[in-house]
């Protein structure tokens, strides 16, 4: 399903069918998930428009109320100045993005994953996060590429004490999602103090066969400046 299509196009498999069909001067977008009601939208565009279907930042559904993704995992201890890599699962949202006249717009966003929100920090000053609970893996786990992706999280404990970590919070504005055999993201988590940590995405794919997904959230792409999130209310 993931990939780039020229309109009109049709895609169908066991779980989903997507199509953009020509209807006079219009184009009709239709999404039908098994046993679910179909979603239809009308596009007013030229035939030069291109559609990309790929995983996008998983912070849009069911309502766009946050830009942060929180992944909670069974607590782990990391030694002082330790640097380890763990793998986590994260939820996927799939975006159907149309490009016309060099501008893009998400026509449809859907997910096969259950949704849940949480609060990171205090109710006054904290942030709402899209929540997902994952196990910890030492190597990339099996994942359903329509439902969950694999996050490679490199943890660096910069403190002089053992650190007990049970979650990571990531900023959707700097997410770099890649898809190939599975959907993947790479991120750093630096433990700065006993209560604070910093997370940051890495702009590299897991392997060369992975392709970069089109992002819905945009920031100024200044290569030397990486956007980080400071987890100031514990980890």
């Amino acid at each position: 399903m993931y990939g780039r299509y020229e309109i009109p196009f049709e895609y169908s498999d066991d779980t989903i069918s997507l199509s953009i069909t020509e209807d006079g001067d219009f184009f009709r977008y239709t999404r039908q998930i098994t046993d679910d009601r179909s979603v239809q939208k009308t596009l007013l565009t030229s035939q030069n428009a291109v559609v990309t279907v790929n995983p996008i930042e998983p912070v849009n559904l069911p309502k766009n109320i946050t830009q942060y993704l929180e992944i909670e995992f069974p607590p782990l201890l990391i030694e002082p100045d330790g640097k380890k890599v763990i793998y986590l699962l994260f939820p996927i949202e799939i975006g159907v993005i149309v490009f016309g006249n060099k501008k893009m717009e998400a026509v449809d966003i859907f997910s096969f994953c259950p949704q849940k929100y949480s609060l990171y920090g205090p109710s006054g000053g904290g942030v709402i996060t899209k929540y997902y609970a994952s196990d910890i893996f030492s190597s990339p786990p099996e994942s359903d590429r329509y439902c969950t992706g694999v996050l490679r999280l490199e943890i660096h404990n910069k403190t002089l004490e053992w650190a007990n970590i049970g979650r990571t919070v990531l900023d959707g504005y700097s997410m770099k999602i890649y898809y190939g055999p599975y959907v993947s993201m790479l991120a750093h988590m630096r433990i700065l103090t006993p209560t604070t940590a910093e997370t940051e995405f890495i702009r590299n794919p897991t392997a060369s066969e992975f392709q970069k997904a089109v992002e819905v959230y945009h920031t100024l792409n200044i290569p030397s400046i990486n956007r980080t999130f400071l987890m100031e209310w514990g980890y």
């Binding site: 069911p62 309502k63 109320i65 946050t66 909670e72 259950p114 949704q115 849940k116 929100y117 949480s118 609060l119 990171y120 920090g121 109710s123 006054g124 000053g125 904290g126 942030v127 709402i128 929540y131």
Partner: protein, 330 residues
């Protein structure tokens, strides 16, 4: 002199020390203008920085008003400082200004109070545009924060203007200032229903609802053994942005889920015994004395069983009756 010019010598030269008008010298006039120029520069700097600082905080019209007011206040102070160089006696002006100030102060007391309050509100920001707030007894959605007043709209769509002084001096309850907020329900079930199972059903529903926050988690527990049933307190957190939507939908979901599991919300019920001769013995007065088979619980709950009045009026009492399922009854 080695090419440099000593400014002291210039100001002490006869051109600057010779009086040109009364005892005012050219040097005094020069100082007057130097102070004015400095005052203008400071006023412009303050005005410009104030405009930049408040750019995103206040409306454009108010921003102009504030920056101009700051400019003229600073310029006036500079002017008053410079005036004595022209041999102007400020004591007369100050006395007159004081009197005028008192008059204007009394006349424009509320206007000034609103203005000052507005400025403090802009800095303190206890409320922002679009927020849902309770100001004293008025519940509004803030639409505009102006320099003298705050404009809002009630949930009925009615325009409300509140003077800033009132907002500044009264209690403001901001319902959405915090990221998340909690709400609660009292869910009542019958005594014969399984409270532990009801709690599990409610917790599962909360877990399914995306906007009921994972952290802080919900709290569901038996809160009270009330006269008509068991009260289960259900507390949950939701993002402030969608709080009301969740608050209005979850209660019915809970009710539907409990009913689907065979539980019922009890109706208020009261059994009245009227048995003056035998005494207050429930066995002889309860509905079980009827020869017919007891009706289902839900029918009974709706209709309090009332025994016919026999005997003296002052010999009857009331006690809760929990329906035919109550042990030893029915």
């Amino acid at each position: 002199m080695d090419g440099t010019i000593n400014s002291t010598i210039i100001f002490e030269s006869p051109i600057f020390t010779a009086p040109v008008y009364g005892t005012t010298t050219m040097g005094d006039i020069l100082w007057f203008f130097i102070i004015l120029v400095i005052a203008v520069i400071i006023a412009k700097l303050v005005s410009l920085n104030l405009s930049r600082f408040l750019k995103d905080r206040v409306r454009k019209n108010d921003l102009n008003l504030i920056s101009k007011a700051a400019y003229w206040v600073i310029f006036s102070i500079g002017f008053l400082i410079a005036l004595p160089y022209l041999e102007v006696d400020l004591s007369g002006i100050l006395v007159a200004g004081g009197v005028v100030g008192i008059i204007i102060g009394f006349a424009a007391q509320s206007v000034v109070a609103n203005l000052i309050s507005g400025i403090f509100l802009i800095f303190e920001q206890p409320l922002k545009i679009g927020e849902n707030v309770l100001i004293e007894d008025t519940h509004i959605i803030v639409e505009d924060i102006r320099i003298f007043s705050t404009i809002g709209k009630t949930f009925d769509g009615i325009y409300v203007r509140i003077p800033n002084e009132k907002i500044f001096t009264t209690t403001i309850t901001n319902y959405v200032a915090n990221t998340a907020r909690r709400f609660e329900y009292n869910v009542e079930i019958r005594y014969q229903d399984d409270a532990a199972r009801a709690i599990k059903i409610i917790e599962a529903l909360i877990e399914e609802e995306p906007f009921c926050l994972k952290n802080p988690g919900p709290s569901v527990y038996v809160d009270e053994l009330a006269s008509d049933g068991v009260i289960i307190k259900t507390r949950m957190w939701a993002p402030s942005e969608v709080w009301w939507d969740i608050r209005t939908t979850m209660l019915w979901k809970i009710k539907s889920a409990l009913e689907a599991d065979g539980m019922e919300i009890p109706f208020p019920q009261r059994t009245v015994w009227i048995n003056p001769d035998v005494g207050d013995k429930p066995q002889t007065t309860l509905p079980s004395t009827h020869q017919t088979k007891p009706a289902p619980q839900k029918d009974r709950c709706c209709k309090p069983s009332v025994q016919p009045h026999i005997g003296r009026k002052d010999q009857y009492s009331t006690t809760p009756y929990n329906g035919p399922d109550e042990p030893g009854k029915g």
